[in-house]
Amino acid sequence: MSQVKRPAAPTTPPPTRFKSPPVFAWLLIVTFLALFLQGVVATEISVERLLRGAVNLVHFIGRAFPPDPTDINTIGWAMLETMNIAVVGVTVGVLLSIPFALLSARNTTPWPWVRVMSRLMIAAMRTVPDLIWALIFVVAVGLGPMAGVLAIIMDTIGFAARFFSERIEEVHPGPSDALTATGAGRLSVIGGAILPETLASMTATSLYSVEKSIRSAVTLGLVGAGGVGVELAAAMRLFNYDEALMIILVILVVVIGFEQLSSAIRKRVI
C-alpha cells in the first residue's frame, strides 16, 4: 500500500474527553434523593406493619375462598354493562380524537391559535385521571353507566388525540404538496393524502385505547359510574369477600380476553 498522508496537526482541536455533568443533573439527583428519603419516613414503612398486612391478606383470602357463584347472573350483566361503557366510550372518543388531532397538528391546523387551544384541551383531558372525570360526571349526570361513558370519552381523547396528532405531524409533506398542486381544497388534501398515511398507526392506537378503556371502565364503577365495579365495591363493603373474589375472577377473564383479541387484531393490522 502507498503511504497515507496526513496533515501535521489539525487546526481545530478534537473535543475534550470528558464532560463535567451539568449543574442541572446534580440538582435533579439531590432533589430526587431528598424526596425519596422523606417519602420512606413519611409513609411509615415498617416491617411490623408489613407483617400485619400479610396476615390480613391471608385472612381475606381465607374468607374469599371458595368464590361464591350464586350471583353470577347479576355479575354477568354488570360485566356486560362495563363492556358497553368501554366500547361506546372508546368509539366515540376515537372518533372525536380525529378532529382534535387535525386541529392540533402543525401541518393540518387552520390557524396557530386553534392549535394552541386544542392542545391545551387535549392536555387537560389527559392530565385529569379517569376516576376524577367519573366523579365529575357522576355529579353532572348522576350515578350510572352514562357517567362512565363520558369519563372514558375524555380519557380516550386525551390519549388518542395526542398520538394521532403526533403521527399526523410526521407525515411526509410531499404527497400533500402534490395534491395541493392539482388545485384541490385543504380538506380534500387532508383526507386524500394525510389520513391514508396515518390509518395503520391510528388503528393500532385505537385498539390500544380499547384495552385501556376496559381496564378503566372496571374501576370507574368504584365511584358509581356504572358497571361491574359497582358490584365489586358493594361486595367489599359488605364483607362478602367470596362474592368479591368471583367478581374479580370474571373481570380477569374478560380483560385478558379483550386484550388478547385486541393485540391479535393489532398484529394483523400492522
Binding site: T182, G183, G185, L187, G191, G192, P196, L199
Partner: protein, 267 residues
Amino acid sequence: MTAIQVQDLHKSFDSLHVLRGIDFEIAQGECVILLGANGCGKSTLMRCLNGLERPDRGNAYMHGTDIATADARQLCQLRRQVGVVFQQFNLVQNLSVFQNVLYGAMGEQRFGLLATLSPLANDALRERAMYCLERVSLADKAKHKCREISGGQQQRVAIARTLMQEPSVLIADEPVASLDPSAGRNVMNLLMAIVEEQRMTVLCSLHQLELASEYGDRLIGMKAGRIELDASRDTVDHQRMASLYQGDVRVDHVPTTHHERPVTASV
C-alpha cells in the same frame, strides 16, 4: 402569447435570501429546461410558480394571473392549470396506483376528494384515469400499492396523475434525478411525448447536462438565486452549462477556504 412571466421575484426563508431577483418569460407551448447547482433555488422558484410558496417581492404571472397577490380561490383555479412532477414522485404510498392517478382530477371536481375516491368516482372519471395509466404503460399495475413498484414506475404514475389533471403548463422539478440513466431517459422521453401531444408549456429542471442538451427549446441557468444564462438550446455549449456549477453557486454559501489545504506530513 406568454404563459409564464416572472418579474424581479424575491424569496427568503428567514435570513436566507434564496431568490434574488428573477426575471424571465416563457411563451405558450415553449419547453424550457432549468439548470443550476444544488441549493441555487430551482425548487424554490418552481414552488413560487404555483403558490406552494409565496414570493416576498416581485410578480409571477401564470396566464395573466399574479400568483403573488392571488387569493385562495384564484390560487386553486390557477393550480388546476399547472401540473407538477416532483423529484420524489410524491404519491400517496398507502394507496393504489389507480387511486393516485384519480387524485389528479381532485382540483377540477367540485366535491374534491369525494368525487375522486375510487369507490365513489363516476365511470367517466375512472375510465379517464385508466386511459392515463395506459398512456404511461402501467395499466397492469393499477391495483398495486404505490410502494410495491419501482422508482421509474412511480414517476410514470406521477406523470399519469398530471395527465389526468389536464394542465396547460407543466412544471417538472428534477423529474429524473433519482432514477437510473436508462429509466431516467425513458421517463424523460415519455414526459416530452406527452407534453408535445397536449401542447403544454414546460419548465423542467434537470441535473444531467447530457439530457439538458437533448430536450427542450431553451435553457435557463441559475446560480445563487439569480439567472445567469437564458438562451436558445442550440446556442449554448457544454462549457457554458458547466460554468453554472462553478464558483459560488449556492444561496446558503459557506466560504470554502480550507477544504483544499495542502497535505504536509506523511505516515
